[in-house]
Amino acid sequence: MDRRFFLKGLGVMGCSAAAHPWMTTLTLAQGAPALGENRLVVIILRGAMDGLDVVQPRGDRDYAALRPSLSQPAAIDLDGFFALHPALGDLMPLWQAGELAFAHATSTPYRDKRSHFDGQDLLEAGTGMDVAPGAVRDGWLNRMLQGLPGVTAETAYAIGREAVPLLAGPAPVRNWTPEQRLTLSAQGRLLLEQVYHDDALFRDAAMEAFDLTEAGAARPKREAAEVAGLADIDRLVDFAAVRLVADTRIAAFSLAGWDTHKAQGRELSRSLTRLQRTILRMKDQLGPDVWGRTTVMAMTEFGRTARENGTQGTDHGTGGAMVMAGGAIRGGKVYGAWPGLSEAALYDRRDLMPTMDVRAFAAHAMQGLYGMDSGLLEATVFPGLQMGKSPGILL
């Protein structure tokens, strides 16, 4: 069967009242949140994060020569072979507590063209190189929702002003950005409610919007502004946390700023500080119980060149790293088979060789969190994926 035509049919299938053959182990009590208690947060790191600098293979004998300037600052030892970029240093307690993990030498199936645009398309569509970029119109996280019974709009949130194609598709999803304002006088709001009263579409959307903006305004401002330059992250994470503690189980958003062609030392630190803040704040805002049921996966469109370039940066590459956090993961470990950095071991003699499909990690997470069948994950959510043996990333 042609893969694409199969995918097209899925939306219809997901909406029908027919039995859901996807669910193998999970039975849901009526009225319970569709996905049980487990939370999944997916962060798209736009711009191609340099996995080799974030999780540095200090034990690889070729590493230092490839990265004469980038290997200079001290890194924090993780396991005797890999070391953590110092800008993620505040995450070390999570590493020690088993709540932080990495996958290395991983990538999407995207190869050779090294375009951000196409690479992100593929990452979010969850397809392989056999499907033209943009040909599959829904994202893999939406296709997962299409297969789950009892999903409501509240189940999944795409957060931020930027589109999150990862969550786009026929399954209902809410979009919201904590930056959204909706300022009206009390009288103005009353009148608007009257004007919308007989139009359910406008009325319901407006009520929801009022609720969401009020929830945002109710948070103490002082706390959010404490750390300069990170207030937007705090607002975003706080919003996500409030929803995740309530009925939301899936949240997705993106962090930009990873395209470090020059002065990577400074540029990457800035972006890692934001990622670190995202994770720490999420843990803090979710509280121990919910954090204990949470899996955070931060993935990027591709890695960067093994060699640093002439401007103390790196260029578009292939294999990279994924960051995982949360109380639900088996942390304190760098997952993946290390291919080495000798010239012969590199992809195209220039990039880290991917040894595992990043989609496989996500698929195993979905299977572990929501009991999804591997046949359906491989055929439909990630068409063409071979999940392989479970890497055991979840507790």
């Binding site: 042609d2 694409r4 035509f5 097209k8 375009s115 645009f117 033209a132 970029p133 943009g134 040909a135 119109r137 002003r161 589109a163 194609p165 786009a168 809410r174 979009n175 919201w176 950005t177 959204q180 304002r181 909706l182 300022t183 009206l184 006088s185 009288q187 103005g188 009148l191 608007l192 009257q194 004007v195 919308y196 009263h197 007989d198 139009d199 579409l201 406008f202 959307a205 407006a206 929801e208 919007a209 969401l212 903006t213």
Partner: protein
Amino acid sequence: MTDTTAAFRFGFGLPLPEGAPTTPEAMMAALRGPDLAAQTHFGGGGMVELLPLMENMRLARIEYKKNPDKKGAGKAERRAVQATHAMATVFMRATIARAVDSPDGLRERLAAFWADHFTTVSRSKLDRALPGSLMEDAIRPNLTGRFAALLQAVTLHPAMLIYLDQVNSIGPTSTRGKRRGKGLNENLARELMELHTLGVGSAYTQADVREMAELLTGLTFVGDKGFAFDQSRVEPGPDQVLGVSYDGKGLDPIKAALTDLARHPDTVRHVSGKLATHFVADTPDAGLVEALVAAWQDSDGDLGMVTQALLTHPAVWQAPPAKARQPFEFLVAGLRALGISGADVVAMPDKEFTNYIAGRLRDMGQPWHGAGGPDGWPEAAEAWINPQRLASRITWAMEVPARLVDPLPDPRDFAARALGDRASEVLMVAAGRAESLREGVGLVLASPEFNRR
């Protein structure tokens, strides 16, 4: 049949610009006549102007990459990029200005419809102004011509060839393919069948897509020439698409296949259905779609005749205004109702244009030339009126008019001016009770009456 229906369904609302036609006959006459708005506002932006800018930019980038330290190389590159951006911005402002001012609103709405049907999106600095050039070169000249002519103009245009990767498609056994080990890219071939003509789920197979991709090899873009046909990329041999064999040299077999696709019954039904959906209802009247199909078949795809059939069908004038105005329509209608002219939009300082218009389009979910994929913008009202996007509309309605208009009009007068006989009693009362002119005007612009068509 009322002027209000004509203004909302086929234009950008009230008040109608001076001289605006409101009967189907007069609307068709205007559409078939000269494009008057192109004479008042910038009517360019096609490849003729764009090509030298793109080529300058390409050369400046090569120069900069070769000699990054050479004095002025970086500056020259930035200047070249800015020139292309400036063209894209001028085009955007002009498109809004034309929609605000033009008495021939139908022309502007049709141009937007076809630009969406044939969506292109810029993916790099180099092609920032390409989607505009597609509208100018391929769409606007073909609004009342044959669909086959429109399809051909769009398919052979650099904007489409670049966006859907045709420029990277090389016949695997062509001269060039054998030498370089390169292969086919099926993107354009697939979207051509799935989106532009036959429609998803119609009777074509993956084999048809592949054969179509082989047939399309040779179409490309060359920096100093624009559109080009490169024989060295052509996959040799005949190609069998939907049971018809196409063979021969040059563009002729490609044009023949496009003509056949344009005429295919699935295409006729798919595109007729889209027209009815866009202009009339998310689930259009079946009789209306049949009427468009019949007009298409009787005229061999004359889009003037199809449009006329749309304008003259009774269902079009009876259907309730249940569709949501897309953000572009909402903003244009809002500016017009506030008395802001196209010239005002063109003269607006950059910062204000970004803060009040371009950025707001993005907030409302429709960034300029920024659709998420080649399938373009959604039609369903629910896609546009959700909490976040409606909040952005309300915020625009409450904040921006006071920054653009001084003094603001009386809200009840404004409601009558912007909505004609559509203003409900509830809205008129609410507009009168608002505690400020600002919120009164905002209520009108945020109302379902103003946001639906």
